[in-house]
């Protein structure tokens, strides 16, 4: 039977280790070693307690050290002793090392774009706006059941109320231009250029629903340029509609 043969094959795994004659453990040359599993387990529990207690001191670097430093220590203990990597054949270590290397390549390649929001010649307006909005409004609450949440104290309304004209001049005008002609400073680098909001024709060929969708979900959502980012994290549907109304009332000529 295949199963038994498989087992037999394993029994023949006497290739390395070389810890013969260690009393209780036998018949398995591969792992004839003595690891005190109980001790490792107890150390892991102590480390867990420290990592939970650390943040109570409220000192930033202590939290960092107890949280992530200890996580690394715990993981190493488990990998070396429970997974037996420390006595495993070299090839297994190489296999793991290769995938860790790929992981670091990924991190190094992506991190600069995600962690920074501007650099030489570029600025991630969408990310900055989201950070600002998040910090201004304090907390993001869940939609329902807030009143049952002991932790969430009643938050004052955000100090800066939403105003469509401010939204436009702070964010949109960079590309769409202060006059709505699609000639903002940021538009020079854009292809295709933003449409001219002043033309009656613009408004005749689009519904409000289209425009609200573009503002909240981005140009790509309707097959237009992805340079028009999605702003749904900043404006809900009603606010996007207010912006559309503002743009129409402010810029449109002869319409």
């Amino acid at each position: 039977m295949a199963e038994n043969i498989e087992q037999g094959g394993h029994g023949g795994d006497q290739g390395h280790g070389g810890h013969g004659g260690h009393g209780a453990e036998h018949g398995h040359g591969d792992h004839g070693h003595h690891i005190n599993y109980k001790k490792i387990y107890l150390v892991l529990l102590v480390l867990l307690v420290i990592s939970v207690a650390g943040p109570f001191l409220g000192i930033f670097w202590v939290t960092l050290l107890t949280a992530f430093g200890i996580a690394i220590v715990k993981a190493t203990l488990v990998v070396q002793n429970f997974m037996h990597l420390k006595i495993e054949r070299q090839i297994a270590k190489w296999v793991l090392a290769a995938s860790l290397l790929l992981l670091f390549l990924f991190f190094a390649g992506v991190a600069p774009d995600v962690m920074k929001h501007d650099g030489a010649g570029w600025e991630n307006l969408a990310a900055k706006a989201v950070v600002d909005a998040g910090i201004d409004s304090g907390e993001e609450h869940g939609e329902e059941g807030e009143e049952h949440d002991e932790e969430a104290e009643p938050e004052p309304e955000p100090v800066v109320a939403f105003a469509p004209d401010q939204a436009y001049s702070q964010i949109c005008s960079t590309c769409h231009g202060a006059g709505g002609r699609g000639d903002g400073a940021g538009a020079a680098a854009l292809d295709p250029k933003p449409a001219d909001f002043t033309l009656a024709e613009f408004w005749e060929t689009r519904t409000d629903a289209d425009l609200v969708k573009v503002i909240r979900e981005g140009g790509a959502s309707v097959g237009k340029s992805a340079q028009m980012a999605p702003w749904g994290a900043l404006y809900d549907e009603e606010q996007a509609q207010q912006i559309v109304d503002y743009i129409r009332n402010t810029f449109v000529q002869g319409g």
Partner: protein, 191 residues
């Protein structure tokens, strides 16, 4: 119908084929979970406002589940020790303990998610919660899969069949533990 396997041990690697296969699985898991956690880390650093969402995760529940997983790793390795000595029944019993640990973990996690979802924190609430549910969900799927496989292996082990598999599922299980060891500070402690 049975035919001998082509090789149960690779000459050149010196590792039983099954165990080498587990290492390959884990190597790909490193990239899957690692990629997810690395992305989370980048966003946390780039977006200080995520901290406002992170305060709502329950550190005590996270800590308790860490305790549960560490303990289940301990019973898994004791099962391996028993299997090495050829004590299949004992190994099976330790695997059952490990499965109970997995069940506790999933039970606690379900309560936690139920509580959070009923308070309006869902996978679409914001990017923090998206990461939270994706990472913890993928991890929980691994816990469940591991527990199911462990059930099959325990059944065999009790009859002293395929005892070497006790070690293989153990290695996988410890990896799932290690992933949680990193998820815990990332999602629960870094506030």
């Amino acid at each position: 119908m049975s035919y001998p396997p082509i090789a149960t041990q690779r000459r050149s690697t010196g590792i039983p084929t099954g165990r080498l296969a587990v290492w390959w699985v884990l190597a790909s898991e490193v990239v899957i979970f690692g990629g997810l956690l690395a992305s989370y880390l980048m966003f946390r650093i780039g977006h200080p406002e995520w901290a406002d969402a992170a305060v709502h995760t329950n550190t005590w529940i996270g800590a308790f589940n860490t305790f549960v997983l560490l303990t289940s790793s301990f019973t898994a390795v004791l099962g391996h020790q028993a299997a090495e000595r050829g004590e299949g029944k004992l190994a099976a019993r330790y695997l059952i303990y490990t499965i109970l640990g997995a069940a506790t973990f999933v039970g606690v996690k379900s309560y936690e998610w139920w509580y959070e979802i009923s308070h309006g924190y869902t996978i679409t609430t914001n990017n923090f919660w998206s990461f939270y549910y994706t990472a913890a969900g993928l991890h929980a799927a691994h816990v469940i899969a591991g527990a199911v496989i462990m059930g099959y292996i325990a059944r065999d082990a009790a009859k002293n069949v395929n005892l070497h598999r006790v070690e293989l599922i153990g290695i996988y299980w410890h990896f799932v533990d290690v992933v949680w060891i990193f998820l815990f500070p990332l999602l629960y402690i870094a506030k």
